[in-house]
């Protein structure tokens, strides 16, 4: 029984180390310094507003805060802010059956706004999207 306990603890320790390694190897690394980026908001009626942003922010949330005229709201959670309202339009998955989809270039953002890194020249798109 004692050897089973030791084996269990060892397995758990190995799993923790493996997870920590995975996190360090694959987490997005932020870029320091000034960046010029664009943020395009595509509303429910497909009208588009483009914001040219000069920012030192390392993550999209900071860049959105630096965008003149862009307003947004959301809820803070353990993984950062979850944006539910952009320019006064709410897209809540539960309440509206819709969400704000975030793209960098043509790719879907893999992180929430608090963790999505910003690089010079990035083009972000925030699109009102109906849940399928």
């Amino acid at each position: 029984m004692k050897s089973k306990k030791i084996l269990g603890v060892v397995i758990l320790a190995v799993l923790i180390v493996a997870m920590a390694f995975t996190f360090n190897a694959f987490k997005e690394k932020p870029v320091e310094g000034e960046k010029n980026i664009t943020i395009e908001v595509v509303a429910e009626d497909k009208t588009s507003t483009v914001y040219e942003v000069d920012t030192d922010a390392e993550y999209l949330l900071g860049a959105m805060e630096d965008a003149d005229g862009l307003t947004f709201e959301g809820e803070d959670g353990p993984y950062g802010m979850s944006v539910s309202t952009v320019n006064g339009v709410r897209a809540d998955y539960t309440l509206d059956g819709a969400y704000w989809a975030f793209f960098v270039g043509e790719e879907y953002c893999n992180y929430g706004v608090s963790q999505q890194p910003v690089e010079d020249g990035d083009s972000f798109k925030i699109v009102y999207t109906l849940a399928e």
Binding site: K5, V9, L12, I16, P78, Y79, A101, Y108, Y111
Partner: protein
């Protein structure tokens, strides 16, 4: 005149309600601690000592969580994550080692982010993007999973023996 069957049913309903209340009260008491809670600990203990009655605790607890915190995407993962823990506990129910339970609940804490990431696969514009998003979401939350794991492990090591014996006494009283 209430039959014995009716009395037993009423007793079971009260017991399930009490178990859910214990989990929720502990959750609220520890809400300020990031990803550290007694939910896994109580589910393990209740599964072990009150057998099949815990199958009613999980849906009631999950429904209550939705009512209190909102039926958001994370709530969908509660529909299968907690039943997975209960199922594992039922499989290992004859084990009485605090260390083994601590390891099991630690591994569950470590896997929690991966389990909760599954619904995110279906939120993106296509399955490929959804999968990439779910994996990234899981990776970004790994520090929280490790916190969850360590919290579950330590709480189980500290509380399994003292509260386990309390549960055993309760179990005997219920049988009588």
């Amino acid at each position: 005149m209430i039959s014995q069957k009716g009395k037993n049913a009423a007793f079971d309903v009260a017991l399930v309600a009490l178990m859910v209340a214990v989990i929720e009260v502990c959750k609220f008491a520890m809400i300020g601690l990031p990803n550290i809670s007694l939910t896994a600990f109580w589910l393990v203990l209740f599964s072990k000592h009150f057998g099949n009655k815990v199958y009613y605790v999980v849906p009631v607890f999950t429904l209550l969580e939705g009512i209190v915190f909102g039926f958001n995407l994370w709530w969908i993962s509660y529909l299968y994550a907690w039943p997975v823990l209960v199922l594992i506990t039922r499989i290992f129910r004859h084990n009485d080692s605090a260390v083994i339970w601590a390891v099991i609940s630690g591994i569950f804490g470590l896997s929690f982010g991966a389990l909760c990431a599954i619904p995110y696969i279906f939120t993106a514009v296509d399955l490929k993007s959804g999968l990439a998003y779910a994996v990234s979401w899981w990776i970004s939350g790994i520090p929280w999973d490790i916190t969850h794991c360590v919290g579950n492990f330590v709480l189980m090591m500290l509380l399994y023996k003292p509260l386990g014996s309390v549960m055993q006494n309760l179990q005997k009283q219920i049988k009588h």
